[in-house]
């Protein structure tokens, strides 16, 4: 057990105390586990609320701020937030323009956000929900009916957040969020397992010298276990799987946004080397890349590995992507 923690029971509360200390622009309710941007209700914008199990940082609390989320609800590690948490976040950010819930497709998250939406509507809030289900590796999984929500969450939160910041109405923000999800696909690879604080040991067995192709962000099994492959072959499998699935949406009508994401314990040096191979495969297949992010954005605690997410971005999505954003983990233009 190599963890920098006080105790498994206090991991999430401790992290929230740390966020509060580091980011005075955030209103962090440590006890109730809600992170809200202080100016969420200024300006009469649509509110954007997301959340999910902890352990995927900077997702979601690191994406709360100008041009992205209004609030985040972190659950326990790898555990959905409870409906009360989500309801509290919705109430904290609603300025009468309604609230969009951005929900990764895991059974617990879907149920709890649905229950929160019902409670919020009883309180007179207008709520729309969008499901993120971009992971092409498997249909159904340990925690999912249908596809899992992974890296595309970042694209959805950024682009919907940009539209909300510009004053777009709820229906329009929700429509954009659904469009981004529909245009996005991901594929993940694990080179090593992760360790949850509660368990204190690896969550699954991945012998040294093997990798799991199509792994989920909680270490859920993927498509196939194989002997270790060089980065160039991993990139071919991951990008190939994403592009093959995207082709079923229809012919490409623009460039892609690319996220080359670290799962937590893979050094940035290796992620950039992996990105070189991702960029090569995309170039060979004639896919133009408009924007690229390389780094740890949607993680799985200390899992070694990576994922690739591509989003087909037309001119409108690209314009929104480029507008200013200012959060703990993603910022440009301001």
């Amino acid at each position: 057990m190599r963890m920098l923690i006080n105790s498994p029971e206090t991991v999430v509360a401790d992290a929230l105390r740390g966020m509060a200390a580091a980011h005075p622009e955030l209103d962090v309710d440590v006890e109730r586990r809600v992170v809200v941007r202080r100016d969420a209700r200024d300006g009469g914008r649509v509110g954007l609320v997301s959340g999910g199990g902890s352990g995927h940082e900077p997702l979601h609390a690191g994406f709360v701020g100008y041009g992205m989320l209004s609030a985040a609800c972190p659950g326990e590690v790898f555990t959905s937030p409870v409906p009360d948490q989500v309801l509290r976040a919705a109430a904290a950010v609603d300025s009468g323009q309604g609230v969009l819930f951005i929900v990764k497709n895991y059974t617990g998250d879907v149920l709890n956000f649905e229950m929160a939406a019902e409670l919020a509507e009883e309180d007179g809030l207008r709520v729309e929900r969008v499901l993120v289900d971009d992971d092409v590796a498997v249909t159904d999984s340990l925690y999912t009916a249908g596809r899992r929500g992974t890296g595309a969450t970042l694209f959805v939160e950024r682009i919907a957040g940009a539209a909300a910041e510009e004053g777009a109405p709820l229906e329009r923000v929700a429509e954009l969020a659904r469009r981004v999800n529909a245009a996005s696909r991901s594929f993940g690879v694990a080179l090593g397992a992760c360790t949850t604080p509660a368990k204190g040991s690896a969550t699954f067995e991945l012998p040294d010298g093997e990798l799991e192709l199509g792994v989920g962000i909680h270490g859920e099994p993927g498509r196939e276990r194989r002997a270790m492959m060089p980065a160039r072959e991993i990139a071919e499998v991951a990008v190939g799987a994403v592009l093959e699935d995207l082709a079923q949406v229809g012919p490409a009508d623009g460039p892609v946004l690319a996220l080359v994401n670290g799962m937590g314990a893979t050094p940035l040096l290796e992620l950039y080397g992996f990105h070189a191979e991702v960029a090569r495969v995309l170039a060979e297949r004639g896919v133009p890349v408009a924007r690229t992010l390389v780094g740890n954005y949607v993680t799985s605690l200390d899992m070694a590995g990576c994922s690739v997410t591509l989003c087909r971005a037309d001119g409108e999505l690209l314009r929104l992507w480029d507008t200013p954003v200012r959060t703990a983990a993603l910022r440009w233009g301001c």
Copy 2:
């Protein structure tokens, strides 16, 4: 061996190809291993060149850009860049205003930057050098005469870069860089060893359930090996060591900049929890914190652990810190 690489021999070149693909605003010479901001010579500014062994990403190449470094020279993993590399970077960024070399205090780096400075001066360039030696854990070490250079490098590069961006002359930029280093102290802790691509196994032995207090950024031994401690106690040791050493500089005359840095494989969830304890200790000791960074900035490949760096920042340093910066890994205000 759980590495996302093509081969140990190509790790640095592959990462540079990935940087080139992801960051079109950088001019990346993959073969000669120099990363230069494309507009380095516009505006007649002082040039800032840094570099060192690879494996500490985003340091240094991730800090090349507006308001920070003009160029970076990555060596092999944990190996100094060669003088020719540094000379090439200096020539690429010099616009007649001179060049500052920012050098972490490791024997190889010091020698190679010194040689590069001599060669550059023979070519008619004006060169100043500043050594970063902020690590209070040990005097002298495996790779160092005197203290090691670690997290303060980020503070030096940012504040000197801000001054250069504003058009300050070489002597002034160098003086500020030295002032930041003199006002900064760091202390690191390893919870697990790192694995270099060439070796393919742990660089040092750290049994599960033990930690190394005062570790260096290459896994060099620190002050003491102990049984695992909770985050709150680690924060007390680390912050205590830093403050005790800073006190010898003289009485505090302002708040501090705080960097709570991950060594590579420690989840952001844990780093924020650790930061809560760092903030608590600082508050208990009456040290006001002006600005905080929490994340992986000066890493050691896949080492588990963290470091704390504090910089006493007077009004001028704080003003420069807050000016706009736009690099791959650090950006605000633009």
